[in-house]
Symmetry: C2
Subunit: 387 residues, 2 copies
């Protein structure tokens, strides 16, 4: 088995990259990065595995934070949430989990599963169901392509834990999970139904942790070489600049377990006189200039600091920030007619169809896997029934 | 084992009695009675058992509807909700349920567990945790005296089902259950943690189904003999009349999974010129006349049709109804300092202490048990681990 074992410098890169892919949401990568680094210092390990290397019958579950990012930034995880929901799902199915992944690579949720994995010494699959962040549970390629709605689990920092043993649809699962999360104080850890290795290989967005690392590495190398980090991001991600400017208005309200609102950016320098507004539901959904829709879900709208390339989450936005607004094409699997029904503009209540921005491309695994392949390494063994 | 096997005439009596004990809430007894009768006609049986006859280690769970009565009257149960939550709890604990009970005897919830019991041929314990109806899950003598917060279950008419495997407090359990119920469309079937036969015998409000039957029988006999059914209710329940009058105002709003509001009754005839207002949270909570608080939770405020003695739920109240407002002392177990912390006025946000109305008394089992004791009957066997 070929693993990519993460180091602290890897986590620095991944934290920047998942922030970019988070399109404003997915929770703060910073806190998750600090927790993950602390675990490495305690001697724990975080091993990434490519989807192609998974045994077909491996039992995989997705883990992540659910709630409003604005709340999770102040109400920290207690740390054992992921372990509790994983154990609750194992107890329900009677089968051990062999590896975890993030349903959502964007934001803190791109690091979240690594923490549970480190605690339990489980590998983390280098794939997710979004290739970005989305506000609702059912908005993943896994659910689009047939993941079961149950069992799913939820646990909060006080230990409150529940297992959804039956949900009529993924949308109903989202509704129940969201309501329970609000009751728990608006932030919790969730897991969706176990998937097989074969299913993840076929319907996951592959190598998105690798992509995050590559983006973060490009930013750090550009900073170190005094090059423009934004150009470096766009070169790696195949994206385009929309505008550089200043945040002139930010409206945010928390309701129903989400943060919703709208951001306005006024152009500066070469973009002076332009004005872009961006709708928010945890993430940046649609960017509009005058009457023209520039970019829309599932394509990625990323906002980064204009100087450093640091990604800026919806909850960090404030008047006066100098930012660059970027567009990155969504992965091919998010642009299929099936996926667009779950993740396109109409799924968010908009009255228009998806118009793509730029050319999709598959993400590539980092070179570290190839290096690892030359060294001996623990195999990922299918653990089988619980004792 | 001594059982009381219910007949259709028994269900007629119980439906009236649980309506009276429902103090306006607990869901409509009428629908539940019709479903229970239909099951008897299909050859199913409903066997009641006294708490004193339970094997000490029997596994008992409480079942009932949760939500706003105003919704449940229009959104019917699908019928298998109780079976689903019971099976979900059995699967979680690995142990079969030996008998069921209603956590709440008041309203439709006084009949609800009989339906699941008839479907699964399980006995129903003649006891509950309220001796009436209350709006919140944790307001039972069981929780007051140490019932665990988990596991608890919830299922709706579409099959959505969840198991709460850990809840930090009974109040948190209520909060999570209520939020999930709202997500499910405001009505669902719930179950609380399994209890032993010994625990139910010590901390249940005993013989409350018997009490409901006795009240209903008194009403039917009075009607048949052309006597005043209200006097008959009061004689059986040890209660007092507060006023006869006309409903002059009813305010109801649904929010957070409850119906809340206020009812005003203006006196007629001997009570002309008087005016009582009654606060509502699913049930009638506090009756006030001018500056004077007449009756308050946990004592029972019951409103019945002035002519027929038919109990009138909060969701059926409307302008012009001729009603009698009655007060019935709560069972002794609800008036302890421990219970008052969960069910007294302060638990509902009022700024005053409980002032009792009248003298508490324990309910007695119906004579049918003694008759049954002389005939051979199936023993209640502890079923043990699930196969």
């Amino acid at each position: 088995m070929t693993y990519w074992t993460l180091t602290e410098p890897d986590l620095d890169r991944i934290a920047i990259g998942v922030g970019i892919l988070g399109t404003g949401g997915g929770g703060s990568p910073y806190q998750q990065m600090l927790i993950a680094k602390a675990l490495l210092r305690q001697g724990k390990r975080i091993r990434m595995v490519r989807p192609v290397d998974l045994p077909p019958d491996a039992q995989i579950i997705g883990l992540g934070g659910i709630g409003a990012p604005t709340v999770s930034i102040e109400k920290m995880e207690e740390g054992e949430e992921g372990v509790r929901v994983l154990r609750a799902i194992e107890a329900h199915t009677g089968r051990k989990v062999d590896a975890v992944l993030g349903d959502e690579v964007g934001g803190g949720n791109g690091i979240y599963p690594m923490i549970t994995a480190a605690k339990l010494d489980l590998p983390v699959v280098d794939a997710d169901g979004m290739g970005r962040a989305f506000p609702e549970v059912q908005m993943t390629s896994f659910f689009v392509y047939g993941q079961e709605s149950q069992p799913a689990g939820l646990s909060d920092a006080e230990g409150n834990t529940l297992v959804i043993t039956q949900a009529s649809t993924p949308e109903m699962l989202e509704k129940i999970m969201r309501a329970a999360t609000v009751a728990m104080g608006c932030t919790a850890c969730m897991t969706t139904a176990p998937m097989t290795g074969d299913f993840v290989r076929r319907f996951g967005i592959a190598h998105t942790t690798s992509q995050a690392w590559t983006l973060g590495d490009a930013v750090l190398r550009a900073r170190s070489d005094k090059r423009d980090p934004i150009a470096a991001i766009l070169a790696e991600a195949g994206g385009s600049p929309l505008m550089r400017g200043k945040v002139t208005d930010i409206e945010r309200r928390i309701g129903g377990g989400f943060v919703r609102g709208r951001l306005t950016v006024a152009g500066l320098d070469a973009d002076a006189g332009r004005r872009i507004t961006i709708d928010i539901q945890n993430e940046y959904l649609v960017a509009t200039e005058g009457e023209k829709r520039l970019v829309m879900v599932p394509d990625l709208i990323c906002i980064v600091d204009a100087e450093t390339g640091r990604p800026i989450g919806t909850e960090e936005q404030r008047y006066g920030l100098r930012v660059a607004v970027l567009a990155i094409p969504a992965p091919p699997l998010l642009r299929t007619p099936e996926s667009l029904r779950s993740m396109g503009p109409r799924a968010f209540g908009y009255d228009f169809d998806f118009a793509p921005f730029g050319q999709s491309a598959e993400a590539r695994p980092v070179a570290a896997y190839t290096a690892a392949a030359t060294t001996a390494s623990t195999p990922l063994v299918h653990s089988g029934e619980l004792q």
